[in-house]
């Protein structure tokens, strides 16, 4: 009986294809809208989570700068000597204050940019653009979620002096200078020429790979600048007189928290502590922030947008459902004779009801399927063309939900007309012109 009803429904739908399509349109639009936004939302959420993993969800960054009360337009102020910085004393006290929460502290400072080459290899072919970065021992720990050492090792504790000519290089550099073979690059020497016509020789002690994109004015991947990581004191020593400021004044530190720390409450505590360390007449202030909050904020706004568009989709579905109900009613009136005949041939009220509910459900399911396909297509284009080329992740839960909702709309909005058909008096129906 159900099989027969499904067949009958298709025959009926095919009899007037345009009318059937227009009936489905509301459902298609509603479902497509919801699926599209769910796909985009899901893709962004997943991408966010992946980024979160690279940023270091356990990291807290602290930045010291001018206080909010500073008047930046004041031209009489001695801005040249204004260097907000963390002092060693502050950092030591901080570590002492939060033994349970602080796992490691990472400090870095950028030096010059330059070009790295290998002795004996053609410099026009084998070169890599680098940026000197001086780090402290904690830096690699702090950035462990975004940088991993793939060959060689980190600096040893006795390799952190100014005359330590060891470096860590990016996998990119290895691609440019050593044909991508990280293992063989370890122990090799590279010559780094910096902007003020000096060149230094470094020994590669380790190769790291970073999953954070470095955007630069590169004409090609080969020309992209990567970080050449050296001990802090060494970077400072080769930086030259003019570039000492970034090494003397550390305004930016990153803290790796111990697992299990409530990162969000620690961030507030840390900020309060740092500010309390400054003298009362200070012109500085400390800001601490963690990525978790930022990710959460971003997710929240994403959720709100998803909700808004879903609400619009729901309204479209409501309208679509009403459309189904109306068209079914009309269709049933047109088939009054047929209904009367069926009853004369032995159809019970429930048989008639089932026939037309089936038709309503099938129209809605078909509309739902088309809507899902359209929604996925729109979502795909939105993610890959309009946004920054994300890998699309479909929310399968929303697809199944869309099926279920289409079905439910068919049942709910098909019920009134189907019931009307079921209750028709066969004698009246047979007389109907």
């Amino acid at each position: 009986m159900l099989h027969e009803n499904v067949r009958l429904a298709f025959v009926s739908m095919a009899a007037n294809k345009l009318r059937t399509f227009l009936t489905m349109l509301g459902i298609i639009i509603g479902i497509a809208a919801v699926i599209a936004i769910m796909t985009v939302g899901n893709t962004l959420t997943v991408a966010n989570q992946q980024q979160m993993a690279t940023f270091g969800v356990n990291n807290v960054e602290c930045y010291i700068g001018g206080s909010d009360s500073l008047d930046y337009s004041n031209e009489d102020f001695d801005w040249n000597n204004f260097h907000p910085a963390f002092t060693e004393d502050m950092l030591r006290k901080m570590i002492a204050q939060f033994p349970e929460e602080i796992e490691a502290v990472g400090i870095s400072a950028y030096g010059q940019s330059g070009k790295a080459t290998v002795q004996g290899k053609n410099q026009d072919q084998y070169y890599a653009n680098v940026s000197m970065v001086g780090i402290n021992p904690g830096y690699m720990d702090v950035n462990s979620s975004s940088m991993t050492i793939t060959a060689g090792r980190n600096f040893r504790s006795n390799e952190l002096t100014a005359d330590s000519w060891y470096c860590l290089v990016d996998q990119m550099l290895v691609s440019n200078l050593f044909d991508g073979d990280a293992e063989s690059a370890v122990g090799k020497k590279i010559t780094v020429s910096l902007s003020h016509d000096t060149a230094y020789e470094y020994t590669i002690v380790g190769v790291y790979s970073s999953n954070q994109m470095q955007f630069a004015d590169a004409t090609s991947v080969k020309d992209m600048q990567t970080n050449l990581i050296v001990p802090f004191q060494n970077a400072k020593a080769v930086a030259g007189e003019d570039s000492q400021d970034s090494f003397n004044y550390i305004s930016d530190i990153t803290i790796l928290t111990k697992t299990g720390t409530d990162v969000i409450s620690f961030t507030t505590q840390l900020q309060d502590f740092m500010n309390s360390q400054l003298p009362s007449d200070t012109l500085y202030q400390v800001s601490c922030y963690n990525n978790a909050e930022w990710i959460e904020e971003s997710n929240k706004s994403l959720r709100q947008m998803t909700l808004a568009i879903t609400a619009i989709g729901a309204i479209a579905l409501l309208v679509g459902g009403i459309g189904v109900m109306n068209i079914m009613t009309v269709s049933i009136m047109e088939r009054t004779r047929e209904i009367g005949t069926r009853k004369a041939l032995g159809a019970r009220n429930s048989d008639i009801r089932l026939q037309f509910i089936t038709e309503a459900i099938l129209i809605c399911l078909l509309g739902g399927i088309i809507g899902i396909a359209a929604g996925l297509l729109i979502g795909y284009f939105a993610c890959t063309k309009l946004l920054a080329g994300y890998t699309v992740t479909i929310s399968w839960m929303s697809v199944w939900a869309a099926f279920g909702i289409s079905f439910a709309i068919g049942v709910f909005f098909g019920f009134y007309p189907a019931n009307k058909a079921a209750r028709m008096d066969p004698i009246e129906a047979l007389r109907y012109e």
Partner: protein, 260 residues
């Protein structure tokens, strides 16, 4: 005037159950047995209208009966009651020995589908599905499985000479062809009674003849029980029993002069 016609006064008609004493096979139940069937509309209001004033008739298996009457005689009302599309206001209706006048809607539908085969003046085939599928419809509602339905439908269509057009839709068939499909459909569940309402009314005389010949064949060769409702006297004369309906009463029964 046929000599065997009994002319009976209206007041006396209510006492007679037409056909109750007719010769029949020993031990069988009558197909239908109506007793004092009254039908009123708008009961209780000032427009109360009594359309049937106490119909009593019996039809035995294998009979070819017709009910003749002008429009307004109550013909349609009586047909609807016999066909279980309507319930009488009072009186009893037994079908194959079981009282059916007070059945619930669900059961009414069930018995109607299985025991009454309708043939309508306007064919009433379901559009957009094939002749074969049309014949299967009553069997579908009787919950007969698909394979059996198709086999039976094919056989029935062959019986009425429509085997070459099995897969055609109604809009591809002529009136006579449609009526033949309708007759096949009427026999789908082997009903106790085939109830034909002006079956040749929409057909030309030649095609109408073919249909009537088909009815006769079904009656004589397949021993079907047929009840023809018509206003056409010549048509009624072809049947064995003619019940004349006038103003809501059966006023007489006679044998058809053209009956075989």
């Amino acid at each position: 005037m046929p000599t065997e016609e009994e002319k009976i006064l209206p007041e006396e008609t209510a006492e007679i159950n037409y056909g109750a004493d007719a010769p029949h096979e020993e031990g069988t139940d009558p197909v239908i047995s109506l007793h004092q069937i009254v039908k009123k509309y708008y009961i209780g209001s000032e427009n109360e209208l009594e359309v049937l004033h106490g119909i009593s008739l019996t039809i035995w298996p294998g009979e070819f009966t017709s009910i003749v009457g002008e429009s307004g005689s109550g013909k349609s009302t009586l047909m609807n009651i016999i066909g279980l599309l309507d319930r009488p206001t009072s009186g009893t209706y037994e079908m194959l020995g079981t009282e059916v006048s007070d059945l619930k809607d669900k059961d009414l539908s069930y018995i109607r589908g299985r025991q009454i085969g309708f043939v309508f003046q306007t064919y009433n085939l379901i559009p957009r599905i094939s002749a074969l599928k049309n014949v299967e419809v009553p069997m579908m509602y009787a919950r007969i499985p698909q394979k059996e339905r198709t086999e039976k439908a094919e056989a029935l269509l062959e019986m009425v000479g429509m085997q070459d057009r099995m897969n055609h839709n109604p809009d591809e068939l002529s009136g006579g062809q449609k009526q033949r499909v309708a007759i096949a459909r009427a026999m789908a569940n082997d009903p106790a009674l085939i109830l034909a309402d002006e079956p040749t009314g929409a057909l030309d005389s030649k095609t109408g003849r073919l249909i009537m010949d088909l009815f006769h064949r079904l009656h004589e060769e397949n021993h079907k029980t047929l009840l023809l409702i018509t206003h056409s006297q010549p048509l009624a004369e072809e049947t064995r029993r003619i019940l004349t309906l006038s103003d809501g009463r059966i006023i007489g029964e006679r044998r058809g002069t053209n009956a075989s």
